[in-house]
Amino acid sequence: MPGSNYDRDLSVKEGFVLSKFLVKWEMILVYILILLNLVLLIFKPELFFQAGTIQTIINSGFDSSPLVLGMVFILLLGDIDVSVAAQIVLGGMVTGLMMNAGIPSIICVLAGILTCVLCGAFNGFCVAYFKMPAVITTISTSMLFRGIAEIVLGENSLKNFPAWYNKIGWYNIGGIIPLSMVLFLIMGAILIFVLHKSPFGRKVYIVGNNPTCATYSGISVFRVKMGCFMLMGFMAGIGSIFFIGRMGGGISSSMATGYEMTAIATAVLGGVSTSGGKGKMFGPMIATFIMSFLIFVLGLLGVDPNTKKIFIGIILILTILVSTVNKQMIKDIKLRLLYHNNKNIEAVNDRTAELVKKNKNEIKKLQKAGGKDAEIKKLQAEIEAAQKECKEKSAQFWADQQADEKKAKERFAK
């Protein structure tokens, strides 16, 4: 329809700027990954070049990888799902029980995945329809799902699974490329398309940023949330295949505890904000590699599995601090240390800094274009004047504040 609103070009064109690209969160994750590899290379060179080491590392960390992919969607909504580990157990249980009954394996696997999808749908219904907080819903449903597995299985474990389950956890294609990584990358590629290129993905971002706004723009928040939770359930179903394969083809009701926290930690490390609407699919995918390398490298360096938890915790906290809080934090610290807790001084300084930055940019432009010296000098004079004024004003405010405090003290002393 030419001439109508639909004709507008709504695509955002961001030019490729190398300096910006290099400090992107995803790139920082890549650096960390390279750093980990270097550590491994320096401390255990003979192991690093041995055939099969890298494959083992990747295989060892990828049993929770499908959960990470699903968790990104949930976190983007601003929700959280801690019932995924219980879903894995429940899905695996259904598959195993049906295999025991002698039903063809493909139906069993599909039934297991379907169970997980239904679990996710139940979570989603509680969260989206009853507007229950996701934390509470999923804590209680994780108890419920695991409880059902406990009721059915008791102390027993199921061992009858399709033979190709083990291959997912352990097989390398041609002896070089781990099968789990290939599957993970394929799933990741599909989900990148869903999240970044499809209408559904955009809706997820909008709902995560502001559900009220999404409702008024005609997006069914209920449907988007249901979709995300069911997708999470589907990924948990796939995750159960990965997990059982990695465990060597067996499952019992007490297995996979703590996997939900690993998945959340990985997604957060990948730069997904837990308050919703911020984050990309690439980050968590790289973070999955980082997690598996990190755990393995620490293990090789002689750190025992439980002490590793300290490192994971510290890294988690540090990454969050560095990635999301730094601006606010620097502002707070500046306000406290430099500006004597006085917001007026802060405002004056901020305004001056902005002006100085703007003028300096203009000077640069002029110099490039070979502009007149007079104009440059004028701008420089402006900067100096602004700085001088700023200093005077700050001193004035500070003096005022001190005088006020003195007065207040005197008054209360009486």
Partner: protein, 326 residues
């Protein structure tokens, strides 16, 4: 009377009585005074954790590190007390509270002053404390033989026929209830949970209040750690895994709103009782022990859904009353 009928706690008490009646019918010989005292003794730790968790949830935060914190403090006090039998037991009691408060201060500083998301921050510290618990213990397990009587006395000494750990839990509940209801700092916790912006405008230092809320939670979890090891006379680095979920569940069952600013100590007390009746009496019925977890989960979901409906009817009623006024 009308107020009593609409109160949430009335419903909870009805549920509690129903559960007790059910337990009386299904397990008649288990329903003795001694069994009830044992039940209270074994669930006092949950009470301490839930009270601490409640204080944090009231500020619209959440603390999922308390179970790891419990294990860490429990391991530290256990290992120190076993190594130094000469030092009086009170030292460990105080050390547990101080150490817990310090760990809580870490959470509080990260959430309050550095504006981290509570869930993620405590997820990180959960890993850290659990790892520290292992590092301190070195993988060692402690059994009943190695525990000193001067250490265990805080949990099992009987005052008026009731174990000390139950008294401690009751005293903590009363103190925290008074603190939250009748002191200025307690009201500030409710205020920042209800609305951060308006409380900041009203002159409440929101970071500081959050900081102290996490310290209270940590101190109570630390105390629970010492009492837990003293009560069961056993400890290892992986103990109490998943207790944080139970504590949160008790809070929600007791009517503490996860969005903050709503909830009272009496609701939490009844929530603790309901939870321990479910876990204890239901598990005594033959063949029902495996049902525990599923029942707990189902009850919380039902409780939250009931919450939703009662809140909606309350809102509708309030709207009607307002309409009548206009």
């Amino acid at each position: 009377m009308k107020k009593l009928l609409h109160s949430r706690n009335t419903g909870l008490i009805v549920v509690l009585i129903l559960l007790l009646v059910m337990a009386r019918i299904l397990t008649p010989n288990m329903f003795s005074v001694q069994a009830i005292i044992n039940m209270l003794q074994n669930n006092s730790v949950y009470a301490l954790l839930a009270v601490g968790e409640m204080v944090v949830i009231l500020t619209s935060g959440i603390d999922i590190s308390i179970a790891s914190l419990l294990a860490f403090v429990g391991i530290v006090t256990t290992s120190l007390s076993c190594a130094n039998p000469g030092i009086p037991g009170v030292t460990w009691f105080i050390l547990a509270i101080v150490l817990g408060a310090l760990c809580g201060a870490l959470n509080g500083a990260l959430v309050g002053y550095l504006h981290m998301v509570p869930m993620i921050c405590t997820l990180g510290t959960m890993y850290i404390f659990r790892g520290l618990a292992f590092a301190v213990s070195g993988g060692q397990w402690w059994f009943a033989a190695s525990y000193l009587d001067s250490y265990r006395v805080f949990a099992i000494a009987k005052i008026l026929g009731i174990p000390a750990i139950v008294w401690i839990a009751v005293i903590v509940m009363v103190l925290v209830g008074l603190f939250l209801g009748y002191t200025a700092p307690g009201r500030r916790i409710y205020a920042i949970g209800t609305s951060r912006e308006s409380s900041a405008v009203a002159g409440i230092k929101e970071p500081t209040v959050t900081f102290y809320a996490y310290i209270i939670c940590g101190a109570l979890a630390g105390l629970a750690g010492m009492l837990y090891t003293a009560n069961y006379a056993g400890g290892y680095y992986g103990m109490a895994e998943g207790f944080e979920m139970t504590a949160i569940a008790i809070c929600v069952l007791g009517g503490v709103s996860i969005n903050g600013g709503k909830g009272r100590i009496d609701g939490v007390a009844i929530g603790v009782l309901i939870m321990c009746v479910i876990t204890n009496f239901i598990s005594m019925i033959p063949g029902m022990s495996v049902w525990q977890k599923a029942l707990q989960g189902a009850i919380i979901i039902v409780a939250v859904i009931i919450n939703y409906f009662t809140e909606r009817t309350a809102e509708k009623r309030a709207l009607k009353e307002r309409g009548a006024l206009i």
